[in-house]
Amino acid sequence: MMDMSKLPILKDYEEKIYVCNRCGFCRPACPVLSQKNMEETASPRGRMSLIYGLITNELKPSMTIVDKIYLCTTCRYCYVKCPAGLEVDRIIEVARYELTKITIAPPEAHKIISSKIDNYNNPFGEPQFDRIKWLQRESAMKLPEKAKVLYWVGCMASYRVQDTAITTTKILRHANVDFTILGTEEGCCGSVLLRTGQRNPVVNKYARINVEKISAKGVETLVTSCAGCFRTFSKDYPEIVGDLPFEVLHVSHYIERLIKDRRIEFKEGLPMRVTFHDPCHLGRHVGVYDAPRNVIKAIPGVELVEMVNTREEARCCGAGGGLRSAFRELSITIAAHRLKADALPIGAKVLVTPCPFCILNFEDATKVYGIGIDILDLTELVCKALRI
């Protein structure tokens, strides 16, 4: 099928790639590079060099290039540091797409994910009916057929970080929100496919189907748990299917709104000292930095202590861009580095983040490296404060 989307291709970035001055300002920003002991080939500039080589035909596509181009979490920190303002993360994504088109990419792990999504509608290959297993833990949960708000649970919260799904629905119910979910009809948004260069199924199928399913519920607002789903719905889908017939909010946004509308009120204090981690796909990718902080600040008693590297300068948790699925160990060392280098030095005992994918990776890091810090989803913190 013809790609009718407005998603960029490598050619669109050709002019930009020639602008790269190789100044190397991107180097220290890269979460992968610091774990690879600063080896140039694992740096954003190194990847840009390889892509430069591909467009100038100085290099032929090869497995070595594939390996290097996939060593990236698409965290976009390098973009923040780039004097020329080059969107290295997007250039990486389109390069992955081009390498996938000629079938030498993606790496095996990502191919498997694609086929699992194709067969099971989720990247884990879990049965579709298990998508609502977490609902059993929520007693007597009845959800309407149609509603103003649709909570897009996402594969990660549905199957892997179910506490997030439970706390989110608790909050929505507590605030008497007219909401529903797609339940077993929900599928993958395609975020992982877009990030790993496998855009065709998303362009040809998932984006349209998902938007249709959501629209059929008469929805005005879509609320996502996952920062990746949020980025995909708010940035990628409009490039694929045009403007969406509903607004897209991340749950942190939506809770901020509920607080502002006084539909949520914190009556009791929660004495707690927390720090906040900005998920890359929420912060640098879409520019949402204040909403989750406003939620935390609204809770009486909670003291928010910022890490030195925060907001635009927040270091990545290491999970995104397909890194966790293809390079698990590396991905977890990146999470451990974020905790050890940024969170522990400020004396944080609890790290709050509003993304189940970040949570999963951080929790793995605390287990593997024995790091003494609790990882909490923003919605868990809100539930604690609401005593629900």
Binding site: Y18, V19, C20, N21, R22, C23, G24, F25, C26, R27, P28, A29, N37, M38, E39, E40, T41, S43, R45, G46, S49, L50, G53, E58, L59, S62, T64, I65, K68, K81, P83, A84, G85
Partner: protein, 463 residues
């Protein structure tokens, strides 16, 4: 390619016996990543090796010396004159893996570091101890201390504090023969024999590989006062620098950025800077009383010379905005020109700044090149920045011709062709014009003493 295939295979095997095999990079793609720095040049190494100890470097160098294979040491590859380009192929030694800060001693006012430490990391670590290392190259985010030493980096604060050569007390160096020597001392004073430390600072990797450095550090000043002034003509801004010095005041920094940068910064960051020909940013440091007193004097001089919109940053936000304006000058030129950039580097006596600015503009115009100027004006250091589209050889050629003509002009003004970027490949043909034949012969003779087989970064500094 320097080596024949069969030979190369043997060398690679030997290198893998010296360092862990994953630290020997051999694929074309990996080597390609090491074929460039931030200059216009390009050359492929035969192999890249990433040592992590001095002992490993000794073995690598011994091997290269025995086999007469060129070695190009490399830090973060942020060099602007081609210092990290392996023009003759051979082995690129990537030093970024040796990145430990070994000691920070507040009492003795020293820091001991490995060469791969990133400048900004050291700055942050020193700040925790209330200290700083004065050289502040613009590439602080990424450049390494080893690279800064090899290139004798400068920066904004060089006006008051001098460049890297003034802040290195001692070095550990692996010579091309594999011998390890110590230069200088851990002490603040030292005249034990020749000053080999200063010989290595700025030697661009042509004499040996630096494996450890003892840096002189200073307590952070109590107060910093920042001000700005705008000028209808950049030449007048240049004149203002002389006038400030004539009253006996030496600020920490005096920076000048030209209209091309100012416009692009305003468009980008909405800082509302006055869109006139040049903007000057001045920092004064010292005790609070001192800086207040000096600021008053500087303001008067600026006014007398014809500056407009003389402003003192009084709030944290104003301080930050002005700093941001200066830091954004380089990125802003990308936005102004929408192309890749060539950043040149000259130095003139401060009283020749107005002429140097005029000359840079005239010659750029002659070669039909738009240009922005960022100047560490306080020490007469000018960076003309020209856009260049690397796809068009004619454009590169024009930039190089413009650079050469301007270099001649700068030398006629009694200036120097390199203030802080080194010579590398870009300026090798001009060095004799600055120093004369005999001085170059002396340099070549020194090089032979250290490196009889000419394996260390060959093809650089006209050696």
């Amino acid at each position: 390619m320097f080596m024949k295939q069969r030979k190369l295979v043997q060398i690679i095997e030997k290198l893998k016996n010296i360092v862990r095999s994953e630290h020997v990079l051999t694929s074309y793609e990996e080597r390609y990543c090491y074929s460039r720095d931030a200059s216009l040049y390009w050359a492929m190494p035969d192999v890249v090796v990433r040592p992590h100890t001095t002992e490993e470097i000794v073995e690598i160098v011994k091997l290269a010396n025995k086999e007469k294979i060129p070695i190009t040491p490399r830090g973060a590859g942020t060099n602007l004159t081609g210092g990290a380009i392996p023009v003759k192929g051979g082995i690129v030694v990537d030093m970024t893996g040796m990145n430990r800060i070994l000691e920070i001693n507040r009492t003795n006012l020293i820091a001991v570091v490995e060469p791969g430490v990133v400048h900004e990391d050291l700055e942050k670590e020193l700040a925790k101890h209330g200290l700083f290392w004065p050289p502040d190259p613009a590439s602080t985010y990424s450049c390494t201390i080893g690279g800064a030493i090899a290139e004798c980096a400068g920066g904004m604060r060089a006006l008051k504090y001098g460049t890297t050569r003034d802040w290195v007390l001692g070095l550990e160096v692996v010579l091309p023969t594999g011998d390890v020597i110590k230069t200088g001392a851990m002490t603040l004073k030292n005249v034990t024999g020749f000053d080999l430390t200063r010989l290595f600072v700025g030697s661009e990797g042509t004499l040996g590989i630096i494996t450890k450095a003892v840096l002189k550090v200073r307590p952070l000043p109590e107060a910093l006062l920042r001000m700005s002034a705008a000028f209808y003509e950049i030449e007048i801004a240049g004149l203002a620098v002389s006038k400030i010095f004539e009253t006996g005041i030496v600020p920490t920094i005096i920076e000048i950025i030209s209209i091309e940068c100012i416009r692009a910064i305003n468009e980008w960051l909405k800082l509302g800077l006055p869109e006139v020909d040049a903007l000057m940013v001045i920092d004064l440091d010292g005790t609070r009383e001192e800086v207040e007193k000096l600021a008053g004097k500087v303001e008067k001089i600026l006014k007398d010379v014809g500056a407009i919109e003389i402003k003192r940053a009084t709030t944290a936000k104003e301080m930050e905005d002005l700093y941001l304006a200066r830091r954004a000058a380089y990125p802003s030129t990308f936005r102004a020109f929408r192309k890749s950039l060539t950043v040149d580097d000259f130095c003139v006596p401060v009283n020749k700044l107005p002429e140097a600015f005029r000359l840079a503009r005239e010659i750029s115009k002659k070669w039909r090149l738009p240009m922005a100027i960022i100047a560490h004006a306080g020490d007469g250091n000018i960076h003309p920045i020209w856009p260049v589209d690397v796809r068009y050889p004619e454009e590169i050629d024009r930039v190089l011709k413009c650079h050469t003509e301007l270099s001649h002009g700068i030398l006629k003004l009694g200036g120097s062709i390199s203030a802080e970027h080194g010579i590398g490949i870009l300026k090798a043909s001009l060095i004799e014009e600055e120093y004369g034949k005999k001085a170059i012969e002396v340099m070549r003779a020194i090089k032979r003493v250290f490196d009889p087989n000419d394996i260390m970064n060959p093809g650089k500094i006209a050696l």
